[in-house]
């Protein structure tokens, strides 16, 4: 490569980097928040977004990303899903070895409304939680949620239905228990 070609390539690379940096800054915070809601873990959320951003960057350089927000959301959901599967298998194995399932459950005594609801959401199976988060945090339709998660619209519909029924039960129980405790 000639010096001129190298300079041109560098200039283009710098331009791409600057452009991507703008995109990165625009979407990073929201992506981390989504990843956190999907994984319930700050460190994993950061890792998920870093991996997702790396994938977006590769495709971005190739000119294959039209809608960065949508592409990144899908990449975050995929990465989060992979980690959730891995974590589930690790916990199941730990539970099998020790006969103790406390690691699978997440229990908290906080009574602040948002925390109570968040605790209930965390008790949902992974798929149901993903669907609820994408619907009520990202405001995605069933079709868009299905596309992001790579599942059928029917799966989204049934997961949402079961998830909402479960949340209704959990939060109604919580309310009844709370009232009972005050009586």
């Amino acid at each position: 490569m000639t010096m001129g070609a190298q300079v041109l390539a560098f200039a283009r690379s710098r331009e791409e980097e600057d452009s991507f940096a703008e995109v990165f800054n625009e979407h990073h915070r929201r992506a981390v928040r989504l990843a956190y809601l999907l994984t319930s873990d700050h460190h994993q959320a950061e890792d998920v977004v870093a991996e997702a951003m790396a994938k977006v960057w590769v495709q971005w350089q190739r000119g294959r990303v039209d809608d960065v927000g949508a592409y990144l959301r899908r990449a975050v959901a995929n990465q989060a899903n992979s980690r959730l599967r891995r974590r589930y298998l690790e916990r199941r194995e730990a539970s099998r070895r020790t006969g103790d399932d406390r690691g699978v459950r997440m229990v908290d005594d906080q009574t602040v409304e948002h925390d109570v609801v968040w605790q209930a959401i965390q008790q949902l199976p992974d798929r149901q939680r993903q669907v609820v988060v994408l619907r009520y945090y990202e405001d995605l339709s069933e079709a868009d949620t299905a596309e992001v998660l790579g599942v059928s619209a029917g799966t989204v519909k049934s997961s949402m239905s079961r998830g909402m029924a479960r949340l209704h039960d959990l939060l109604s129980d919580e309310g009844a228990a709370h009232q009972g405790g005050e009586a």
């Binding site: 991507f20 940096a21 981390v32 870093a50 409304e113 948002h114 609801v117 968040w118 009520y136 309310g175």
Partner: protein, 34 residues
């Protein structure tokens, strides 16, 4: 609690929880390959 109330509680909780998340500031280039 009706469906609308449940949806509102979920939205509010997710927004509140997301608002608590402070992404770690990243130094240097934003580009993973750089």
């Amino acid at each position: 609690m009706n469906d609308r109330e449940l949806e509102d509680r979920i939205r509010a909780s997710l927004q509140a929880r997301a608002g608590d998340v402070q992404p770690t500031p990243r130094s240097g280039s934003a580009c993973p390959s750089a």
